[in-house]
């Protein structure tokens, strides 16, 4: 009996730990299954990391789906599925849709100790679909709370710069 209790405890803990680390993986898997597409990482992402030192941004992970865009009519349904796949610990924070720029972004946030984890899904006409996960703390976190929409727009631009290696 004792063994069963411990096993349940260990399993529960392991599941909780796994779900805490798999935000981006969950979303990437969902997109791959839903649209039969494959992601690829950003090869020289580590080069950008030293520049993030002291900015309050860390733990950056990016997955790209080049030449794939989320169909406009599917964005709402996809967002529901992303929310369901991520679970209740991730909450929808900002959603922006620009017909002018043919761009759709959805941002989920999650509390992670004194950090805030952000998961951003962006579909753009020019660069395709990108999923990004990062930790924000300090000033960066405050900026996200104060100006969530501006931060989302700025982040999209930074993301493109990092991907293009500019």
């Amino acid at each position: 009996m004792k063994r069963a209790i411990w096993l349940t405890f260990v399993l529960t803990f392991a599941c909780a730990a796994a779900s805490a680390q798999t935000g981006i993986k969950t979303v990437v898997k969902l997109l791959e299954t839903r649209y039969s597409v494959h992601h690829h990482g950003v090869p020289a992402l580590w080069l950008a990391k030293p520049f993030m030192f002291g900015s309050g941004v860390g733990g950056l992970k990016i997955a790209e789906f080049e030449n794939f865009r989320v169909p406009t009519e599917d964005a709402g349904k996809l967002q529901q599925q992303i929310g369901a796949a991520l679970g209740p610990e991730w909450f929808p924070f900002v959603e922006t849709w620009s017909r002018r720029d043919q761009e759709w972004s959805v941002i989920y946030a999650r509390e992670s100790g004194d950090k805030m984890q952000l998961l951003i899904v962006t579909s753009e006409e020019k660069d395709g679909l990108t999923v990004l996960q990062m930790n924000v703390s300090g000033k960066a976190r405050q900026e996200w709370f104060n100006e969530p929409v501006d931060c989302a727009k700025r982040d999209n631009k930074n993301q493109q710069t990092a991907k293009n290696g500019e």
């Binding site: 406009t72 709402g76 909450f91 929808p92 924070f93 900002v94 959603e95 922006t96 849709w97 620009s98 017909r99 002018r100 946030a109 509390e111 004194d114 805030m116 976190r141 405050q142 709370f145 104060n146 100006e147 969530p148 929409v149």
Partner: protein, 189 residues
Amino acid sequence: MKRIFWSVVFLAASVIGSAAQDVIKVPESWDKLAAKADEVVKVTMDKKMLQFASKFMDNEGDEEGKRIITKLNGIYVRSLEFKNEGEFTEADVAPIRAQLQGPEWSRIVQVEHRSDQEHVEIFIKYVNNTAQGLVVLSEEPKELVLVHLDGPINPEDLDDLSGNFGIPKTVHAPKKAATQSKPATAVKK
């Protein structure tokens, strides 16, 4: 036993249902409008997120903001920007306004700015003589903005929140708005 079980389930569902009704329901027609809009922004900050944000508001000058958001249940912002005039009609806004017609809601500000063709209304919800929610509804020919602050709040608190948490910078407390030379600038995205 079964009856007790179902009673508990029903009661729980009613409680959850009534809690959900506190948040202004954005009508489905707005999803259709969103498809026509040039820019759509939706910001959702529920109680959990506001509590989290408040933990880090320790800088000088943050005290008021922290006091306000700690009490709130949520901040919800929906903004639609259109390319052309006339993309939305009064019928699209009517379902929102209908939710603000109840006995608990009072319109405290209504501003019409003819040159900008801007129409701004601020509604406040009173429960037992205490303010329990605030809604800002701003209409321009090409723009529609809805801000809902759910929970205990005073109209004056708007000044401390404007420009933060996705609330447009020019959303101000009614008193200030009324004293401005251009009242319609009280709310502008």
